[in-house]
Symmetry: C2
Subunit: 354 residues, 2 copies
DNA sequence: GTTAGCACTCAAACGCATAGAGTGCTAACA
DNA sequence: TGTTAGCACTCTATGCGTTTGAGTGCTAAC
């Protein structure tokens, strides 16, 4: 069966109406809309066709129609490829970037705090739940290491990776090292390791470093362990969430067990990496992905939809932002908000780098 | 009216029964218990007295009795002052410290991760919600500062406070400083500041440092700002939570709006400091506090009870652990679990310090 | 002081009728 | 041939009266 123009219009009308109300949409409602001057009976015939095509369903025999995942997919694909469609602009309310602009222009030095705030603002603006991963490096390299004596046989190793990702490690090396020996060890490590990726730190190099370190070989080994840990991806991928309680606003998600599962995933931050998907190695700038219902790769989110975007921080550092809402999420608004946010982020991170 | 022994026994029986079931307790239920061989009518008379004393109430005329906050308070005070009361030991299930022992014996170097895990284990063991503050210093002092050049006019300032609390700050100072000048600045700052508390860094000292820094006075000022930020308490008090979804298990908290508010507070971590109370300056070792219902200082937790404990990490560093559950929380189990946890923490942090 | 008995209360559960939104089908119409 | 009015039918949600049962307070007897 063919999806002609009238059918498409009706599908769109159903989706829009369902987005607003959350209730199944009947033929009479559609027939009363301005641009569709047909009787309910005609609409009903078309609806029967749309149902046959798997784009809408009835929750029960005598109810209106609700879009299926397939129906939403059609709508979203249409939305993403063809920007200025017959869809009305996201109606009024808060302008997507209003608060965001002030927030981002502050240019906080603590990137993490900024990301947290960003999650909060996005959640408040969209009324959905937001998750943001910390910055993540494509192909990470060691910038430099700084060792300091802490007394009590402890050594502070500050490890800085490309993209200014800083990791602290307090190492217990048994006994204190003299100031001069520490300087030498510091120099030795930096001399041998700076600019290398984790793969380039191989056994011969490690042996060489231990040789050069002499009596402080143990300390050198401890620092190398810390370096390995600093490169560990899991570790360097914190996820910030905000607006988890927004899901209470959508009655179709109101099942207590489901809410509980979802909030649990958000709190324990276990599967959020999966939900956000992999950062595509050579992804385009605004790599916006939409997962609808069952398409979401996390079990407890299969009643929701998730929209993700990749942010670029210059210098090859990037991360992901995800917005979780009900299936009947306002995809248009969310996609627009994400695009605007990405643009602003780009502007801020590009300028001061030059 | 006097609270004689029989009345106390009946109150205890009501509390225990209500803890198990969450339902109002009737006179017949109490009368069937082993150690109270009285007819329901007798029990009813006593119950009427207990109600008059404000220790129990009826949710409605023809319902059983439920303990009031005042009733719980009596019970908890009794529990805390007089350890080995007629109360049966916390019955079976998971031995409080089982997993905790393995966890803590690992002695992770990353204290924060350990605290997060601790929150998780406590939540799993108790089936309540847990919050843990990061380590917090009573009267904090600067241990040392380490400056490193990062290129691009950026400076990495690593600030270490007493108790090995490490803060990173990337400072933008406009133009790079030469290696030698940086060494001098580093020495100057450490020479003047090490061992001082925030109050001791006063204007004359700041002027002196700027003088000594000479042309790098701006950079010195930036570092001093970073030091002030490092001392900022709000900033150094992360709160980890776990088991937020455990509240779904208790039907008396099942009101969606209340759950939403509570989870929101837990997620945004706003008022958790208030909920955990102030760390008492000269508190005893295991400073266990119980807040029942309306006693909890946070609005959205007034339907819950909160039990807090102070943990000591040696060297004057301490923090707070809080457990949030329904009013009918198993106070005995929670208090015991917390005490056991505190003891284990003490053992671990004391030993390697000597 | 304790207990049996009884009338009373109230929330929750149940059954049942009703309203109303919406459908599919058929037949008539342009 | 596409569109529409009309109608019988379906199914959920709502409201309402009834019943059930747990529990109480009071009184009178032990």
């Amino acid at each position: 069966m063919e999806l002609d123009d009238r059918k498409r219009k009706i599908l769109l009308a159903i989706i829009q109406n369902y987005q607003d109300t959350g209730e199944p949409v009947g033929s009479r409602t559609i027939s009363k809309m301005n641009d569709l001057n047909y009787s309910p009976a005609t609409i009903r015939n078309e609806m029967a066709d749309l149902e046959e095509m798997g784009l809408i369903v009835q929750p029960h025999t005598s109810a209106g129609r609700v879009p299926t995942d397939k129906g939403y997919r059609l709508y979203v694909d249409h939305l993403l490829t063809n920007e200025e469609t017959g869809l009305t602009a996201s109606e009024g309310g808060q302008l997507p970037g209003t608060h965001m602009e002030q927030l981002l222009s502050k240019r906080m030095d603590r990137v993490e705090e900024m990301l947290m705030r960003m999650a909060q603002v996005l959640a408040a603006n969209t009324q959905y739940t937001t998750m943001v991963t910390g910055p993540h490096y494509k192909q990470n390299k060691l910038k430099f290491i700084q060792l300091s004596a802490m007394g009590g046989g402890k050594l502070l190793a500050v490890i800085v990776l490309n993209g200014n990702i800083v990791k602290n490690n307090i190492l217990d090396i048994g006994s204190d090292i003299g100031q001069e020996a520490l300087s030498r060890l510091n120099f030795c490590l930096n001399n041998n390791l700076n600019g290398l990726s984790i793969e380039e730190i191989n056994l011969p190099l490690i042996t060489k470093i231990k040789d050069e370190a002499g009596e402080n070989a143990d300390a050198a080994a401890a620092v190398l362990d810390a370096v390995a840990a600093a490169f560990d991806k899991e570790d360097s991928m914190p996820v910030y969430t905000s607006g988890a309680t927004n899901i209470f606003k959508y009655p179709e998600l109101a099942d207590n067990e489901k809410i509980s599962n979802l909030i649990n995933v958000l709190e324990e931050k276990k599967e959020l990496g999966t939900a956000l998907g992999v950062v595509s190695p050579n992804g385009s700038k605004q790599d916006i992905q939409v997962y609808i219902g069952d398409e979401v790769p996390v079990e407890s989110m299969k009643d929701c939809s998730v929209v993700t975007a990749t942010y670029q921080m210059g210098d090859g550092v990037q991360g992901k932002i995800g917005i979780i809402g009900p299936r009947r999420m306002d995809y248009q608004k969310v996609v627009e908000t994400l695009k605007a946010t990405m643009n602003q982020l780009d502007g801020i991170f590009k300028k001061p780098e030059e």
